[in-house]
Symmetry: C2
Subunit: 454 residues, 2 copies
C-alpha cells in the first residue's frame, strides 16, 4: 500500500510564526494617511486592534512565538494532513508528483481559524470583551465565531444581507458558536441606519459591512475589530500552514519545485508559500511560488502596483498594493473569498520584486478542476480551493508536455460542504466564463487618484 497521507504529531505543531519581512530584500513601503497622504505609524491602528497585533503588523523580527493557549486550540485540528495526490496524478497521466496540504479539517472548514484564534487570544489578553467583523459568504465570520467562543468573548458579525438571506447555514454555524450575526446594513450602527434610511431594500455590500464593524469597534472601548486577510499579522499567523508543510515534505523525502495557493487578499497564499520562500531567500533554493486568482478579479496578473484604499469607501490607510482600483466590482463568482480588488502589501512587494508569480483561471476551468479533484481524490473542494487545483493541473500538464517530472504542492484551503449550490450551478451549466476586457480594467483604474509608485 502506497503512503497517501503525511501526518505530524500534535507536539510537532510549530512553536513560532515566520515573519518574511525580516528576509525581504526590499521592505514594504509605508502605509499613508487617507487624508494627508503622509506615512503613518502603528499608533493609527490603535482604535481598531490590540497592541500585540499592531506590534506584529510592523514587526521586523523573523520568528514570533505562538502562545501555548493558541497552540492548544490549534490542536483541535492541527497539524493538518499533507497528501500525495496519487488519484489526480493518475487521471492526468503526468510525470509530476502532486501533493496538497489540506486545511479543511478545521471546525469551520478552512484555513481561516489559523488567524482567528490568535486574534481572539490577543484581544482577550488585553481585556477586550467583544470583537466585530464583516463577512461575505461566511467563511471568515464562522472562523472568528469559533475563536471568540473559545476565549469566552462576544463576537459580532456583520454579514452582507444578500448572503444573510441566501446562505443561512453559515449564519446558523456562527450562532451555534455563540456569535451574534447582523444582516448588513443593520440598525445596530449609525452607518447601517443611514444607509437603511436611504435604501431600505438594499442587499448590502462588503464595504458597508466593514463600515458597520469598524464603527462598533471605534466607538466602544471594550470592542475591537478583526480582519481575515490582507494585513501583515494575518499573513504571519497563516505561516503555520507552510511550516508544517515543509516538515511534512521533508518527512516524505521530497521538496516541491512549485508551491501554489489560491489568492484573495493574500493570507492563504502567504500561509503556504512564505515558509518555502524562506528557503529561497535564506538558503538559495529556487522554489517557484504561484498565486492563483480568478480571471474575473485579476489584480496580480492585470492590476497595477500603486497606493490604494483597502475598502471601497476610502476610509482605510492607503496601502502599496497590486490593485484593480478600490471601486472595482468583481463578477459574483462563487469563490467569494477571492473577490477583492487588492493584494496585501507584503505579497505585492514580493510580486513586484519577481520573487513570486501569479496565474489567473477562468471560473469554468476552476469548477472542472474541482470536480476532477473530487472524483480522483475524494474531497470536494471549496471554489476558492479549486483555483489552486486548477493551477496545479496546469503545471502538471506542462510537465507532461515537456516530459519532465516536477514536484508540485498546493494548498487545499477548505472543503466545499457549504458550497454545494455552486456545484449545482456548475452541473446545471450556469457557471459562466468571466474574462475581463482591457477596457473594463482601464476604466476602473482610470478612476484612481491615489498616489502612484515609481
Amino acid at each position: 500500500m502506497k503512503n497517501r497521507k503525511i501526518t505530524l504529531e500534535e507536539k510537532e505543531i510549530p512553536e513560532k510564526w515566520y515573519n518574511i519581512v525580516a528576509d525581504m530584500p526590499n521592505k514594504p513601503l509605508p502605509p499613508l494617511h487617507p487624508g494627508t497622504k503622509e506615512p503613518i505609524g502603528p499608533d493609527a491602528l490603535a482604535p481598531l486592534f490590540p497592541e500585540e497585533l499592531i506590534k506584529q503588523e510592523v514587526s521586523q523580527e523573523k520568528w514570533i512565538d505562538i502562545p501555548d493557549e493558541v497552540r492548544n486550540i490549534y490542536s483541535i485540528w492541527r497539524p493538518t494532513p499533507l497528501y500525495r495526490a496519487y488519484g489526480l496524478e493518475k487521471a492526468l497521466d503526468t510525470p509530476a508528483k502532486i501533493y496538497y496540504k489540506y486545511e479543511g479539517t478545521s471546525p469551520s472548514g478552512s484555513h481561516k481559524p489559523n488567524t482567528a484564534v490568535p486574534q481572539a487570544y490577543y484581544n482577550k489578553k488585553e481585556g477586550i470583551k467583544r470583537i466585530t467583523t464583516e463577512t461575505g459568504a461566511g467563511q471568515w465570520g464562522s472562523a472568528l465565531a469559533f475563536a471568540c467562543n473559545h476565549f469566552d468573548m462576544e463576537c459580532e458579525v456583520y454579514m452582507v444581507r444578500l448572503s444573510y438571506d441566501h446562505k443561512p447555514y453559515r449564519k446558523v454555524m456562527m450562532n451555534t458558536w455563540g456569535a451574534k450575526v447582523f444582516p448588513s446594513p443593520s440598525n445596530a450602527t449609525g452607518a447601517g441606519r443611514k444607509i437603511l434610511e436611504k435604501y431600505p431594500d438594499t442587499t448590502g455590500s462588503l464595504g458597508i459591512a466593514i463600515s458597520e464593524a469598524v464603527e462598533r469597534a471605534a466607538t466602544n472601548a471594550d470592542t475591537k475589530y478583526a480582519l481575515g486577510s490582507v494585513l501583515n499579522h494575518v499573513k504571519l499567523h497563516q505561516t503555520i500552514i507552510g511550516q508544517e508543510a515543509v516538515a511534512q515534505m521533508q518527512k516524505a523525502g521530497d521538496m516541491p519545485d512549485i508551491v501554489i495557493a489560491p489568492f484573495g487578499g493574500g493570507s492563504n497564499f502567504a500561509g503556504l508559500a512564505f515558509p518555502f520562500l524562506r528557503l529561497n531567500l535564506a538558503e538559495g533554493r529556487k522554489i517557484r511560488c504561484i498565486a492563483s486568482e480568478p480571471t474575473s478579479c485579476p489584480k496580480l496578473t492585470r492590476g497595477v502596483f500603486r497606493y490604494d484604499f483597502g475598502d471601497t469607501v476610502g476610509m482605510t490607510p492607503l496601502l502599496p498594493m497590486y490593485t484593480l482600483g478600490h471601486n472595482f466590482v468583481p463578477a459574483p463568482i462563487h469563490a467569494g473569498g477571492l473577490r477583492y480588488h487588492g493584494a496585501g502589501v507584503i505579497v505585492s512587494q514580493l510580486l513586484r520584486d519577481k520573487l513570486i508569480e501569479a496565474l489567473a483561471h477562468d471560473n469554468v476551468e476552476v469548477f472542472k478542476a474541482g470536480v476532477l479533484f473530487a472524483r480522483t481524490e475524494g474531497i470536494i473542494p471549496a471554489p476558492e480551493a479549486a483555483h489552486g487545483i486548477a493551477t496545479a493541473i496546469a503545471e502538471a500538464k506542462k510537465c507532461k508536455e515537456e516530459g519532465v517530472s516536477r514536484t508540485i504542492l498546493f494548498n487545499l484551503c477548505g472543503h466545499g460542504n457549504f458550497d454545494m449550490k455552486a456545484y449545482e450551478d456548475y452541473f446545471d451549466g450556469k457557471i459562466m466564463q468571466h474574462e475581463l476586457s482591457s477596457e473594463e480594467i482601464d476604466a476602473s483604474l482610470a478612476q484612481l487618484d491615489t498616489p502612484e509608485i515609481n
Copy 2:
C-alpha cells in the same frame, strides 16, 4: 500544553475486521423466509449481494482480512483521530475523563464510507457494474456515491422525494461524485411508476425507496444492492473504528470504563463497541457498552425481541431483532439516521444477553448536548452524533454525583455541516420533545403477526 488528540499513522490502519459472532456466547438465531417462515440460507441473498459479502454476512471467522485496495481508500481519512474532551470535561466539572473518536473526517462526513468502500470493492471484483441504494437525508447515499466513484462503478440512489426536494445539497454532493440520484418514487422502476400512478403527489418514504433500489438490482444481472446498516457485514466493516480506538486508548495509557455510540440500525454502535466487547468476551474485562437511541424511536429500551421484517412492506427476510414493529412511523426528528424501527440481529442478541446496555434521550436534551459540545470542543456534531454526546454527558454527571472518576469514550460519528437547519430549528425553539406513550408503542406492536421468540 496538554495532549488533545491521539493519532495513528497510516500504516496503523487495521488489517482485519473483527467478527464478534465468533466470540458470542449465544449465536444469533437464523433469518426466516418471509412467506414460509422457515430458516433460510445465505443463497437467498444472492440476487442482491455479491458472494463475498454474503460469506461475510454468515461468517463465524473471528478475523476477516481487509483488502489492500480498501485500506488504500480508507487512507484518505483513516486512521481517524481520537480526542480527549478537555473542554467538555471542564464545562461539566466532572471527575470523569471523556474521550471521543471522530469519524467526521471522511469526505462524506460520517462513518458510513467505512462500509461503503468495501461493499463497492467486492461488487467491482465480482464484475458488477452498478450499485443501487436508497437514502433518506443522504448520509448513506453520499458515502456509497463516494465509494462507487473510486471503483469506477455506477451508483444509483433512490432518495425519498421529501428529502430530495428539501435537502438538495446532499444530492449535489452525490452528483459531484458521479452518482445518479432519483427522487423516489421515480419513473425508473415498476414499483415507483405504480405508486406515482396512484399517488402522483406523494413525498415518498424510505420503504418505497428500498423497493425501487431492490427492484433495479433484482432485475438486472450487472446490478446489485447495498445497505448502510443493520446487516452483519456492515457492522463487521465498521469495527475498523473500535480497533483504532483500542490502539489509541492504549497509546493514551488509558482504557474506557464506558463505551457509547448512537444507535440507528446498529453499525455505528457495533463499529466502536465490538472491539471493546471483544476485550470483555475474550479477556474478561468489564467495559460497559451503551447504545444511545432517541426517545422517539426507542426499540432497544422499549421494543420487544421477536422476528420482524427489515422493511415496512414486509418483503425482506424475517430477522430476530428488538423492534417497535415494522409499521412503526417515528416522529420526523432531525437525526434521520436513527429513525428505524428495528435493531440489527447481532446487537439485538447481545442486548438480550445483557452484554450491552441502551439509553434513550429526548430530542431537546440531544440538541442541548450538541450545542454544549460545539461550544466546548469546537466541532459541530450531526444530530445523530449528538445522541452519543447526550449519553456521555449523562454518565459524566453521574460520576460527579457519585464522586468517582470513570473513563468514558463515545463515537462522534459525523459533523453537522449538512444539518444546520436542525440547529436553526433548535435556536428558534422549534425542536420538540418526543416521548412516546405506552399506548402508542403497544398499538404498533399489536399489529405484528410475525413469529415470537421465547
